[in-house]
């Protein structure tokens, strides 16, 4: 199974990035082969709709699961449309979160916040 996580740097010891849409990189970790790769998040420099573009990147990377501290509603819509589940990270370190997820300890991300470019307020 492939896990995607927004990260601050291209190294396994790095922190989980607080933002999903504007994270500089994504870590893609394969739980079976135990291989990890990093992809650049081209959405980081977008003026708007960064979450959507970042989500498209995740979907195209064929990840099965996303671990993130937060997620906007537009990004969530894209991720969910692809059938990818979103879990909420806890604490700061990537390795801890991967371990926690594998151990089944991470909760599903419930609070989807309004999109940062604008939101569905009607």
């Amino acid at each position: 199974m492939k896990i995607a996580i927004p990260v601050d740097e291209k190294s396994m010891g790095t922190n989980v990035c607080v933002s999903f849409g504007r994270t500089p990189y994504f870590l893609i970790y394969d739980t079976e082969s135990k291989e990890s790769s990093f992809i650049n998040n081209s959405a980081a420099s977008s003026s708007g709709g960064a979450g959507i573009k970042a989500a498209q990147t995740i979907v195209d990377s064929k990840a099965d699961v996303l671990l993130t501290p937060r997620c906007g509603e537009n990004a969530a819509a894209v991720i969910k449309a692809a059938g990818i589940k979103i879990y909420k990270t806890t604490g700061v370190f990537v390795n801890d979160n991967i371990d926690a997820f594998i151990a089944g300890k991470l909760p599903v991300l419930e609070e989807i916040h309004a999109g940062l470019h604008d939101h569905g307020g009607r």
């Binding site: 607080v18 003026s47 708007g48 937060r70 309004a114 940062l116 470019h117 604008d118 939101h119 307020g121």
Partner: protein, 330 residues
């Protein structure tokens, strides 16, 4: 680490004045001015270092290469933002009327203020005369010394997309603060309810809304509360210049009670405050009624912000400790 965002909805309510005071009172190690349209916080927070400046690039702007342009007019016809005009002289000073055929001597120009960077003109141009060029839309500034980090920016006149610049300001602050565990970061937000405000809400643990007791102020306060509610952060309200209209102040208090929003204080109008600001100081740098009142609002804010007893020492206590250690600022 907790992040406090100060918003108001309406401009001129006193966000920056109060933010400046809070920063002084908390010895905040990291703070930012997210009002990138009209930043003011730097005027009252003493900086002893020069800022590191970085260009901020917004959406690219279209540029037409006169040498390649055949005057087919497709770009102008397809631009939804009326950003392309045709001029009847080489200098591009006299606007021509509708240009319907390949006409030489006419100059096509892009108005950089109206151009939204969509790239449609680049796409439709049959001869590749149009390219999207990076455009500087503002400037980021970072003030950093051994004790604290202050991040701010100025959006260039007429630029849009200030939401991204706000995000960059916060990112710059976070990166500069680095591994230092800061207890409290304070963000001076921007007025309105649009993009920049929404961008500043991301990551905030609590929003303090500074309301003004006027009909306009109340109307704007309601709109900003509606916007902030979407983010499920703690919200608290205080009234500034409350004695300019005590009836309206009471209306605001009643509204907060009804909405179950904590109403955490009132600050009086104070001409001494104006004097302090004009001397480039905060209202807690001098002894004045608004300064005393803002201290009380600050205490309540900190209480609410660090609520849930996670064992973290409230910033208020750390002020006392610093004073004991002889680290209080003059």
């Amino acid at each position: 680490m907790r992040q406090l965002l100060i918003l108001s909805g309406k401009g001129g309510t006193g966000k920056t004045t109060i933010a400046g005071a809070f920063i002084k009172l908390s010895f905040a190690e990291a703070f930012a001015d997210c009002d990138v349209d009209a930043p003011n916080l730097h005027l009252i927070t003493e900086q002893d270092v020069l800022p590191k400046k970085t260009d901020y690039y917004g959406l690219p702007k279209a540029e037409i290469d006169k040498a390649l342009c055949t005057g087919c007019d497709l770009c102008r016809q397809n631009c939804r933002f009326n950003a392309i005009s045709v001029y009847s002289d080489e200098e591009g000073t006299k606007k021509a009327g509708h240009c319907d055929a390949m006409c030489s001597g006419k100059v096509y120009k892009v108005d950089r203020f109206s151009c939204e960077g969509c790239g449609v003109c680049e796409y439709v141009c049959p001869v590749g005369a149009i390219s999207m060029k990076p455009a500087v839309a503002g400037e980021l500034m970072l003030y950093k010394n051994s004790e604290r980090v202050f991040s701010t920016a100025q959006l260039k006149m007429g630029s849009g997309n200030s939401g991204l610049l706000v995000t960059e300001v916060k990112k710059q602050m976070k990166e500069a603060a680095g591994q230092n565990i800061t207890k409290l970061t304070i963000i001076d937000g921007s007025p309105g309810i649009g993009c920049p405000v929404i961008a500043s809400l991301s990551g905030a643990d609590m929003v303090l809304i500074v309301a003004e007791p006027s009909l306009s102020g109340i109307s704007d306060m309601e709109r900003i509360i509606k916007t902030a509610n979407q983010f499920q952060t703690k919200i608290a309200v205080c009234v500034n210049k409350y004695d300019t209209n005590t009836n309206n102040t009471e209306k605001i208090e009643a509204f907060c009670k009804e909405q179950k929003l904590p109403f955490i204080g009132r600050i009086p109008f104070d001409s001494e405050a104006v004097k302090a600001i004009n001397d480039a100081r905060t209202i807690v740098d001098i002894d004045c009624t608004s300064g005393r009142a803002v201290k009380e609002v600050y205490k309540e804010t900190v209480k609410l912000l660090f609520d849930k007893g996670e064992g973290k020492e409230p910033v208020e206590n750390s002020i006392n400790i610093r004073e004991q250690r002889g680290q209080s600022k003059p």
